[in-house]
Amino acid sequence: MAGVPLIAAAASIRPALEEISTRYNEVTGESVRLVFGSSGTLANQIANGAPYVLFLSANTAYVRWLAGLGLTQGPPVTYAEGVLALYSRSGLFGETENPLMALDSALQHGVVKRLVIANPEYAPYGTAARAALEHAGSWTRARPFLLLGANAGQAVQYALQGDVDVALVPLPLARLAKLQETGQLQVLPKETFPSVELHQQMVLLPGADQKTHEFFAYLQSIDSQEIFMRHGLLVPSPVNLTLQP
């Protein structure tokens, strides 16, 4: 397995990336090895010498941080725009115009006992979730009921198995876990967390070889973009695909 590119990716894109790598294998016969975690954890591992050759973050900040340490190769590329969704267990509040407002009133009435988000300190979707709660003025009220996942995947895991009322998690994972079957699942528009971006950037790392470059290119193909979209992510328009570091 030594020659197979080792790729570190944000837990939030797991379903999409697994499908892309399967498709890539069918099309080219080449394979890649995928490791998932919170973007912050993975960036930290890279800084500590983890042998990844490509890093797909759920935001730009960790890519920029690594670039600042001189640990990246070439300019980063925005491969998708993250989408945050709000899950509420059935019976809490139905589909509403403004789920965050409904959540705030549910918090005020004391009917929300447990609210799950990814850890805002190192998981970009957690940061976005906190920003959304802050923007809606619910953060202080929500804090005592917070349950933090180590990454977006674990947050969804808690929502799936725990006795959870509300979860603010990535749409692709929420769909994969079929959260819509046990409650309401609504997309939170970008305006609800204006201070945080979820431009999902990827960047090559110093160990990247020819095979890694090929997969990196495949991730920017129409094929891959279609898969990202199908899993609930937004895809940047071709013009602004490449952002300068």
Partner: protein, 225 residues
């Protein structure tokens, strides 16, 4: 079922056992016989991995052997391997966290070998090495065996340190216990459940076999002493 991960777990257990058992025997015997006042402290030091959370051990390993640390740089430049996020690193971590399992049972076993036997062996003209191989080792054998079984079982089940020091790299550091965690995170309870059941089974078999051998050897030894 992730056979790759299982294979890796077995490899890790085998390397740990092969490298750690001699360390356990030498250190355990020394601890059993030494008169030094520092003995409680040394014993406490070797028992530390039992009481410390894996995150603490993992944290120190990352800090002291990471590629940016002096030790990490030294090992990288001399041996060309990284001790974090790599299989050799896992072996080192595994040896450290298994120290109590390898040393303490051996120490107890050697402590049980009476000093009169030493004197008798010396009177018979046996050299210290002969006394060790022909008298002490056969008597302490059950302790060594239980050290081996505990180390093996514990390595198969180790999770926290492996995740922190090794990451979750397929074919490199994704052991069976990490693979189970990974499947849970991927909302794949079926695969996770299958692997968990498998690990449960082999752990039970390993430890039961170990105890079985111990039981069969134990009474014989008692008769002969």
């Amino acid at each position: 079922m992730d056979w790759n991960a299982f294979h890796l777990s077995l490899q890790l257990a085998a390397w740990t056992l092969v490298l750690l058992l001699p360390i356990g025997i030498v250190t355990g015997r020394w601890l059993a016989k030494t008169q030094t006042r520092a003995r409680p402290w040394l014993q406490a030091f070797f028992a530390l991995p039992l009481v410390l959370p894996p995150t603490v051990v993992g944290y120190y390993l990352l800090v002291f052997t990471g590629t940016r640390s002096p030790i990490g740089e030294f090992i990288m430049s001399w041996f060309g391997v990284s001790l974090v996020f790599s299989f050799p690193g896992l072996v080192v971590a595994s040896i450290l966290v298994n120290l109590p399992f390898a040393i303490l049972p051996v120490q107890r076993a050697f402590e049980a070998v009476s000093n009169e036997l030493h004197d008798a062996a010396a009177c018979c003209g046996m050299t210290p090495w002969q006394t060790f191989t022909r008298i002490e080792m056969p008597l302490a054998w059950p302790g060594v065996l239980s050290a081996a079984v505990l180390t093996l079982g514990h390595t198969l089940g180790e999770f926290g340190v492996v995740l922190m020091v090794g990451g979750n790299i397929p074919g490199e550091t994704r052991t069976l216990s990490i693979a189970i965690f990974d499947r849970v995170q991927a909302f794949d309870p079926l695969a996770a459940g299958r692997m968990a059941g498998f690990l449960l089974l082999i752990s039970l078999v390993t430890v039961a076999l170990g105890y079985g051998v111990l039981e069969r050897r134990g009474p014989q030894r008692q008769k002969s002493t």
